[in-house]
């Protein structure tokens, strides 16, 4: 790009940033009305969880989270529509293989912990799912062609599990007369945990499958020899 043009764009963007900062400054220095945070904390005992972020994500604004999970699904379906996954990376050297053998189980264990702890401390389905996904990334880097995921058919069930459990619970509650995604107070904790568990699995599978970068390879290992196998032969 032309150097003068980039300079001009830089100046304009800086001016815009200054304008935004000025607006935020005068807004925050003025008296602001009632905030949602106080309300969210007040209602926390009714929400079934004791951590405000989880209460916002899974209860007050559960509809947004349902659709965020659908966004993840759409992203993965978009990746799958572009074609089959490239062949796996070459098998890991001894150091990486040992590290993967240690880190992957730890990541899965920590994911389970984060899922459970999300009810009362920072954590929850997205963090736990991200850890599961990173375990998949490590496996893929270490040479596993499907990043530790099962066959295509099972992957399809895994990636729809999050939105599926979420929307079915929502519809069931509506059918029972509570209203869509309106949890009864007694069952809120367990419904949220059920949704979060399914969401964790779905997020983990989706992120790992997205990293694989294409439609899953068939149930059987690919018949064409991968470069690694050639190298070893």
């Amino acid at each position: 790009m032309n150097r003068d043009l980039s300079l001009l764009i830089g100046i304009l963007v800086s001016l815009f940033a200054v304008l935004l900062l000025w607006i935020v400054y005068i807004t925050l220095s003025a008296e602001t009305g009632p905030r949602l945070a106080t309300l969210a904390l007040e209602q926390l005992p009714e929400s079934g969880v004791s951590h405000p972020v989880t209460a916002v994500l899974l209860n007050y604004r559960a509809y947004d989270t349902l659709l965020e999970l659908a966004v993840l699904l759409a992203a993965l379906l978009g990746i799958w529509s572009l074609g089959p996954a490239p062949a796996g990376f070459q098998l890991a050297g001894p150091a990486l293989a040992v590290m993967a053998r240690w880190i992957v189980p730890l990541a899965i264990l920590t994911g389970g912990y984060l899922l459970w702890v999300g009810g009362h401390a920072p954590g929850g389905a997205f963090q736990a799912g991200a850890l599961l996904g990173s375990a998949g990334v490590i496996l893929r880097l270490a040479g596993h062609p499907r990043a530790g995921l099962p066959s295509e058919e099972a992957q399809r069930w895994l990636v729809v599990a999050g939105v599926g459990v979420f929307v079915l619970i929502g519809l069931l509650l509506a059918a029972l007369g509570y209203g869509f995604l309106t949890y009864p107070k007694a069952g809120a904790k367990w419904l949220i945990l059920l949704i979060e568990t399914a969401a964790t699995l779905a997020i983990g599978a989706t992120l790992a499958a997205a990293y694989v970068g294409g439609r899953p390879l068939g149930a059987a290992p690919p018949s064409t020899p991968t470069p690694t196998e050639d190298a070893r032969a």
Binding site: L19, L20, W22, I23, V24, I26, T27, L28, T32, G33, P34, R35, L36, L39, A40, Q43, N59, Y60, R61, A62, Y63, D64, L67, E68, A70, V71, L73, A74, A75, L77, G78, W80, S81, L82, G83, R156, W157, V159, V160, V163, G164, V167, L168, G170, L171, A174, G177, Y178, G179, F180, L181, T182, Y183
Partner: protein, 483 residues
């Protein structure tokens, strides 16, 4: 169970359908079309309930308004919901045949149903952040669908579409963050009560409208649209052009009327109207010059979106009352008419492309003649794009012209007239090639002495007598009103 508590159905039904077709890829056509029927029924049911009972609203989660997310259906939402339901059903039925025997079928259905859920979600949302999530889902599934042909051009165009869409969403989200910082709520109804003219509100208005105008492909931010829409498979082009860009315009209209009435002023409306005028002229001109049928349709979308923005300065200048309501209704009618017309046009163009193996307009020669119904569909859709009576856009343009006269903004009339003339030219260019089996002559006039009188007489009847009818009244010695 009351109708209010079932407002989520138009979102939940296609969403559930998308999950089913993802899990059962082998039966995706059957499952997909069943889900499409159910989604369509859900959307039309909410439209009917709004028709019968007036505005509907509900808050999900049982937490009441500032904390929970509101859903709302008023006349504007219901009208667009009816459009997405009917156009969506048409596209779904068409897609069965279009993708038959192709592996793309298993990719099309889940993404299309997710797209449909997000369309309905936008129409029903009453919460600014929820709208952002819906726009994300919409943009992502639309870009993935557009790249389904798998060609290099399609993927490049839709990657650009995805990035432009993200830029639009982020700009919108920045405005949402500003408004939340200033007013502490995300609900459109509550926010509009608290909103005061301030630098913050003005910046939020500009950011929101700019982000959404980018998504609506308002001139000169339309650069991403023609390649993305022209290279997508026909059912996807129809959905993108007829429905997806319309949601961004719907949001601009919704925010303009419901959220920012205290902030939006005539100058802002004029800027949007001027950009709309640019879109009408540039889009129509490029449509006339387009070599390919689908590119023509895509540029025509740019022009038609421009007409919708021409309504804003007229609405802004008209005091509340029957005249303003007429203008708003005409604007929505124009959007819906274009939705149906452009969907029909793209689906028919897809049939022509499949039959002829290409969609180069100059070489259509008779290819369409063997498909009378398809050619007739293009002609009918074309009549609506031009705005010929008795199409919906004729009524809209009529009201728009009336509004321009009443508010004294005569300059928009030139744009409307020029745009209509260009639209007629590009539609008849297609129809002319579709009917002509013979190679067409190189020059316009082949026998000037014989042809000119006929041409001039026809031009007099078609153009001169309409536009220059005023002197007839004085000639006849009659007073009385004409426009």
């Amino acid at each position: 169970m009351t109708s209010t508590s079932l407002l989520f159905l138009p979102v939940a039904v296609p969403l559930l359908g998308a999950l089913l077709v993802t899990a059962f890829p082998r039966t995706s056509s059957i499952l997909g079309v069943t889900a499409a029927l159910a989604s369509s029924a859900g959307g039309l049911w909410v439209t009917a309930q709004t028709w019968l009972h007036g505005d509907l609203g509900s808050v999900l989660g049982g937490w009441g308004l500032p904390l929970g997310i509101g859903l709302a259906a008023d006349g504007l939402s219901a009208a667009l919901l009816a459009m997405s339901s009917l156009v969506g059903l048409g596209i779904s039925v068409y897609a069965i045949g279009y993708f038959a025997g192709s592996e793309r079928c298993t990719h099309f259905w889940p993404l299309w149903l997710l797209l449909w859920a997000s369309l309905n979600g936008v129409f029903l949302a009453a919460d600014l952040f929820n709208l952002y999530v819906m726009l994300e889902l919409l943009g992502l599934s639309a870009a993935a669908l557009g790249a389904l042909t798998g060609s290099r051009e399609a993927i490049a165009a839709n990657l650009r579409y995805l990035l432009v869409g993200l830029l639009g969403s982020i700009t919108y989200l920045l405005a949402v963050a500003l408004l939340y910082a200033g007013y502490g709520t995300l609900d459109i109804g509550l926010l509009s009560e608290r909103l005061q003219p301030s630098p913050l509100a003005a910046t939020a208005l500009v950011l929101m409208i700019a982000g959404l105008a980018l998504k609506a492909a308002l001139f000169p931010m339309h650069f991403w649209l023609p390649p993305a829409h022209a290279n997508a498979p026909a059912p996807v082009s129809a959905a993108l052009s007829a429905l997806v860009v319309k949601t961004a315009f719907y949001l601009i209209l919704r925010l303009w009327l419901d959220l920012f009435p205290a902030i939006a002023d005539a100058a802002a409306a004029f800027v949007l109207g001027a950009l709309g005028a640019g879109a009408v002229l540039w889009g129509s001109w490029r449509a006339l010059r387009a070599q390919r049928l689908k590119l023509l349709a895509a540029y025509s979308t740019v022009a038609q979106i421009g007409y919708l923005f021409l309504f804003l300065p007229l609405i802004q200048a008209t005091p509340a009352g029957a005249a303003r309501d007429d203008l708003i209704a005409a604007c929505v009618l124009m959007a819906i008419t274009h939705g149906f017309a452009k969907a029909g046009f793209f689906l028919a163009a897809g049939l022509v492309q499949q039959k002829a193996g290409h969609d180069r307009i100059d070489e259509l020669g008779g290819a369409a003649q063997s498909m009378p119904a398809t050619t007739f569909s293009i002609a009918l859709a074309g009549a609506a794009l031009i705005g010929l009576p008795p199409s919906g856009s004729f009524v809209s343009k009529w009201v728009m012209i009336g509004g321009a006269f009443t508010t004294g903004q005569w300059w928009w009339l030139i744009v409307i007239a020029a745009g209509t003339g260009l639209a007629a030219a590009y539609i008849f260019r297609v129809l002319g090639h579709a009917f002509g089996l013979e190679p067409t002559p190189r020059c316009f006039l082949t026998n000037a002495r014989a042809e000119l009188p006929a041409f001039l007489l026809a031009a007099t009847s078609g153009v001169l007598l309409g536009l220059g009818a005023g002197p007839l009244w004085s000639l006849l010695g009659l007073s009385g009103g004409h426009a």
